[in-house]
Symmetry: C2
DNA sequence: CTGAAAGCGCTTACAG
DNA sequence: CTGAAAGCGCTTACAG
């Protein structure tokens, strides 16, 4: 049915080996090369990648495991990774765990079964501790979330510093009761929480934070609850774009003016953050750089397997907008 | 290095065939099954999918080609497809064309080389006409964008009707000079344009539309240009979420009040559309349903290859918000 | 139910 | 530069 390499060989009057060499980078005379190329066109031959991978023992495949593809952070990241892979003539298998450790385990198994060349991986907090236990036949570069002990290559931003930037900015604007909302599944959110807490304490302010599921609804609910009890915070910081959406909605629904009643700031410079109300103050991450750097690190690791693990720390940038600036 | 099926067989004291049967659904005695399972655990064996696919001639792989993964429409679609594939014990290869016909051609080649089981595909407008020319070894279900002649299975929404809903709604609110912005790469946008034009004409209104590249910036530029010339439109409709973002920003930057100066409405009920200014009036598409239905159609087609092509038309729903409602 | 053998479609030493 | 042969790691008739 489907045309195979033998059919092309027959049509070109050469051996299958020669066809393979033309398609690969083997040495072939111009004469035969031309005949083979004509035969490939005539037959519409497409090599079978499963056979090629099996025989060559190279999958030329990069695995990419992210925790939520709806999050523009990971969408942008995956595009950067794909572009880099494409330039290196590799493909990408993109998997989405939804922050679910079961799905994560399944996809890690899949990566092994695909015999991937290397993995770029944003582990859930549940998995990040057990990372050392797992032995894989391929190198791993962590992105967005690094393990506590630096035994893996990783590309992250300085979350403690970035959270400190936000708190410092809010404090400079005269805010003191700064309520924090942080995702409860990622080490990144944990670090942002730590940075928040440290910066608050450094200014003699009292930390007041909650961890919630990383969804807008959870943030909205948690913030609404907080608004209903005790003294109202005069600012809110959140640890990512999804929570920012939920927090914005909760303030909106509560009829509060931003920043008049409550200031708002968070992570991830998504397009909509510039559009809403007064514009939202955010930390912008160098997302595409993170992806490119992760691929660079992976290729380095493949060339030099025994290199010591490297953690590359990039910086977030404060984008101050109306949501935090007191008139 | 890596443990293979023979290693497991040796460890379990059985043949490779028996190991294969335990891992598949073959008939094996409880006794041997147990031994094999123990050996699999002990060795940490993971089957090589390339070998399995090559030998079994089943890739158990669904291809999914979308035009822009940043567009939440396609993100949501891909999640729905993946969930359905997962339930059917299949994997998904997700490819992103960026509306670029070259990338599209490359990915179609890749699909053939992967010997995918079936393809779910949102073709660019450049390709949609040539769809009939291409012969593939796998069935295709078009999503979001159907060809002009119904020779492929497809799942779409009624774009003409949906655009008519928007125009009708705006007209009912007293708007007459309704400017339209439509993407220039998708047949979907073309249909929405046609629906816009038909609805305008049915109400005796004069159509005033432009096609632009499907990016926020292009929409913003085109709308700014339109605002700078001639009589100002009193409403703007756009054909998708990205253009809506750009149009919103252009109105905002021009210092115009929505809907006081200009009303705005468009497609895709993305989260941010509810948050901005007065809330944006949109057509909500049943995105997850489109994905699920496409997978159903694909499986049907695989079971019954000779079935006549079916086009399933779902409906958009008007979500009216402040951006179009005249006080 | 079980094993030995063949073969999926390629690539790659090996020999010339 | 070129071809014949072996073999990647599995699955699946075939025979028992």
């Amino acid at each position: 049915m489907a045309v195979g390499i033998k059919d092309v060989a027959r049509a070109a009057g050469v051996s299958a080996a020669t066809v393979s060499r033309v398609l690969g980078h083997g040495p072939v005379s111009a004469d035969l090369r031309e005949k083979v190329e004509a035969a490939v066109r005539a037959t519409g031959y497409r090599p079978n990648l499963s056979a090629r991978r099996l025989r060559s023992q190279h999958s030329r495949t990069i695995g990419l495991i992210v925790s939520d593809i709806r999050n523009p952070f990971f969408t942008t990241l995956s595009r950067a990774v794909e572009d880099a892979a494409y330039r290196a003539e590799m493909r990408v298998v993109l998997c989405n765990t939804d922050e679910n450790p079961d799905r994560e385990a399944m996809y890690l198994r899949l990566m092994q079964e695909e015999r991937i060349t290397g993995l770029i991986y944003a582990p859930t907090r549940a998995s990040i501790g057990r990372l050392g236990d797992l032995a894989f036949d391929f190198p791993i570069v962590l992105v967005d979330r690094a393990g506590p002990n630096g035994d893996h290559d990783a590309v992250v931003i300085d979350n403690v510093a970035a959270a400190g930037l936000l708190v410092g900015h809010l404090a400079d604007q005269g805010h003191a009761r700064i309520f924090g909302l942080f995702g409860n599944t990622s080490s990144t959110a944990q670090e942002r929480h730590d940075g928040y807490r440290a910066a608050m304490s450094a200014r003699g302010l009292v930390a007041d934070a909650r961890f919630v599921a990383p969804q807008p609804e959870a943030a909205a609910t948690a913030l609404a609850e907080r608004l209903a009890t005790g003294e109202r915070p005069d600012a809110v910081v959140v640890s990512n774009g999804l929570l920012l959406l939920g927090a914005y909605r909760a303030l909106h629904d509560a009829g509060l003016d931003i920043p008049g009643d409550v200031a708002l700031a968070g992570f991830d410079n998504e397009t909509w953050t510039e559009l809403v109300g007064p514009g939202l103050t955010v930390i912008e991450q160098p997302v595409a750089d993170i992806g490119r750097t992760a691929m660079d690190l992976l290729f380095e690791r493949l060339r030099l397997p025994d290199m010591a693990p490297r953690k590359i720390v990039l910086s977030g940038r404060l984008v101050a907008r109306g949501s935090s600036i007191r008139a």
